[in-house]
């Protein structure tokens, strides 16, 4: 199916991705061709086939509910774009 400009805008909203105006036409064209390509899947007969989520069909392991990590926020915050008094800063969102 052919995507429209509006679809790209909506997807960009959902994915929290800003798409530049000069890129949108190219995105429409390429995503349309990717979706047309994966549409081959519709031809496969998958009646009564179980979807496969994990290659080895294993259940997730459980671990004891114990504290294993220590507080290292100082170390982690070295990667933060903006920190003040040990807090991560983001733009003001509530007036």
């Amino acid at each position: 199916m052919a995507l429209q400009l509006d679809d790209i805008r909506k997807l960009g909203e959902l994915a929290r991705l800003k798409t530049e105006p000069d890129e949108v036409d190219d995105l429409v064209e390429k995503l349309t061709s990717i979706l047309a390509f994966v549409d081959q899947l519709q031809a496969a007969d998958t009646n009564s086939v179980e979807p496969m989520a994990h290659p080895l069909d294993k259940a997730q392991r459980l671990r004891p509910d114990k504290v294993t990590e220590s507080d290292q926020h100082g170390l982690y915050q070295q990667n933060a774009p903006q920190v003040e008094r040990d807090l991560y800063l983001v733009p003001k969102v509530i007036e």
Binding site: A44, M52, N79, P81, V93
Partner: protein, 486 residues
């Protein structure tokens, strides 16, 4: 020194005919001199490498006989390295310094391997040519106008050019085996869950697997003997015994039947590539292997399946990059609300291919399309996996080409995502089914290397590497070196 295999270098270090500092300096000098032609490294860690080499020399002098002691290697820049920048080839992580080591990095360091630096790659491992990196295109040492393959193309180019003894890589749809084929190397993607994903930046979690790019199967076995094994920090890590791979390489080859999927040799395969791969299959027959034609009925759907499953998982995995606690934060745009803020950070931080995949993944997971795309792809994935299972009831391994063509020109496929995706047509099946796969050099087409791929049942790494090693005892394709990097 750099023409030695990793195994030969390790032996020379043990025999003390060379010190780790000498070997490390030799590689660092080569990187400085030759890498400007390739761009295979994003970060070179000269000081840390020399400090590591000195320590290794002390350990050797003290009688420590760890397998990789003093051997200079490189890590794909997708593996987190404490105190050393880990970029994943992205502007998003351009300044990111990991607070911890990936399990793979930790284990190799403990075994004494010396890290020379972090290798270039397609951004977030999304690509088959190493052209999507924020840090520039990687060139193929066999012909610098060609791509080295991807996404582990920096690791491939560095090993092929003799800039390190071996390197780590990751393989989500062929990202170790394809660059190995295009760069004349041995590439191993182990069984899903064999090598820990802890500290390996996630692309598609149900497909990602760490592995190796080396000159020989023996080198790969040495690295994997250290890298593989259960890790409680990876919830999908396999808690099963790991055989010592290197120890069994020279054992007699049992009578094996190898399946050849005839559809791998249809129109999509370059004729000259086909000739080289057929010759390699003939060589395997001389080793006593019996070849048998097989069919993998749904394998032609593996690329479309992958391009639903992988982007879906990627769109979820990459949602963590928002520029709040780490990662790129937009400086040029003032954001008026939180959504704008995220969109600006991510729009600037991610390159075009990553954005396309996130949007594709978002689409196939969105309301109204989930069943038609994502669920459908998971069902076809099951069919593809069952085809392999049926095949392995009759054969021990599967063999065929790794790629449809030898290395292609830089820029040639950048504007056509489908054309680029089809590079992985023979490799993706193993990822979807979680199977181990190996690519080994098996000839040249127009002076460019060609790869033979071997795929085995789950946990068959020992058999795969044994066959590869026996093949390499009889051939010398893997010992060829590119002219400009002798």
């Amino acid at each position: 020194m750099h023409r030695n295999t990793l195994a030969q270098s390790a032996a020379a270090l043990k025999a003390r005919t060379v010190s780790s500092v000498e070997l490390t300096e030799h590689y660092l000098d080569r990187i400085e001199r030759l890498d400007p032609k390739l761009n295979s490294f994003i970060t070179v860690t000269r000081d840390q490498a020399l400090a590591g080499a000195e320590l290794a020399d002390k350990r050797i002098a003290a009688g420590d006989d760890s397998a990789l002691l003093g051997v200079p290697i490189a890590h794909k820049d997708i593996f987190c390295t404490a105190g050393i920048r880990t970029t994943c080839g992205s502007r998003m992580l351009g300044e990111f310094i990991s607070p911890y080591n990936a399990t793979v990095v930790e284990r190799l360091a403990r075994a004494g391997a010396v890290t020379l630096g972090k290798t270039n790659m397609d951004e977030f491992a999304m690509g088959s040519s190493s052209e999507t990196s924020y840090f520039g295109v990687v060139c193929n040492p066999w012909d610098t106008s060609k791509v080295p393959g991807g996404s582990s193309g920096g690791s491939a180019a560095a090993v092929a050019a003799g800039l390190c003894a071996g390197a780590t890589g990751t393989d989500t749809g062929g990202s170790i085996r394809q660059p190995a084929a295009l760069s004349g190397l041995t590439g191993v993607k182990p069984t899903y869950g064999r090598v820990s994903r802890y500290g390996m930046i996630a692309f598609a979690s149900s497909l990602d697997q760490g592995g190796t790019l080396t000159r020989s199967a023996e080198d790969a076995a040495m690295m994997l003997d250290t890298m593989a094994g259960f890790d409680e920090r990876d919830s999908t890590s396999l808690d099963v015994p790991v055989p010592q791979l290197r120890a069994g390489l020279n054992d007699t080859l049992e009578k094996l039947t190898i399946g050849v999927p005839e559809s791998f040799f249809d129109d999509g395969l370059d004729e000259k590539n086909a000739t080289a791969v057929r010759a390699a299959l003939g060589e395997l027959e001389k080793l006593g292997v019996v070849l048998q034609s097989i069919s993998l009925e749904n394998i032609h759907l593996s690329v479309p399946t992958y391009y639903v499953v992988a982007p879906a998982e990627a769109s979820s995995n990459l949602s963590r990059f928002d520029g709040v606690r780490f990662g790129h934060r937009s400086k040029t745009t003032r954001s008026t609300d939180l959504t704008e803020f995220y969109k600006n950070n991510r729009g600037e931080g991610f390159g075009a291919e990553v954005q396309r995949r996130i949007l594709t993944g978002t689409y196939v997971l969105s309301a109204g399309y989930f069943d038609a795309y994502y669920l459908k792809a998971q069902k076809v994935r099951q069919l593809i996996s069952q085809d392999f299972e049926r095949a392995f009831a009759g054969v021990d391994l599967i063999a065929g080409p790794t790629t449809p063509t030898p290395a292609f020109s830089i820029g040639q496929k950048m504007n056509d995502p489908i054309e680029m995706y089809l590079n992985d047509i023979y490799t993706i099946g193993a990822n979807l089914a979680g199977l181990p796969g190996v690519s080994i050099p098996c000839g040249f087409v127009d002076a460019l290397p060609v790869g033979l791929q071997l795929i085995g049942p789950h946990l068959s790494e020992a058999m795969l590497l044994k066959v590869a090693h026996h093949y390499q005892r009889e051939t010398d394709w893997h010992l060829q070196t590119p002219k400009g990097f002798v």
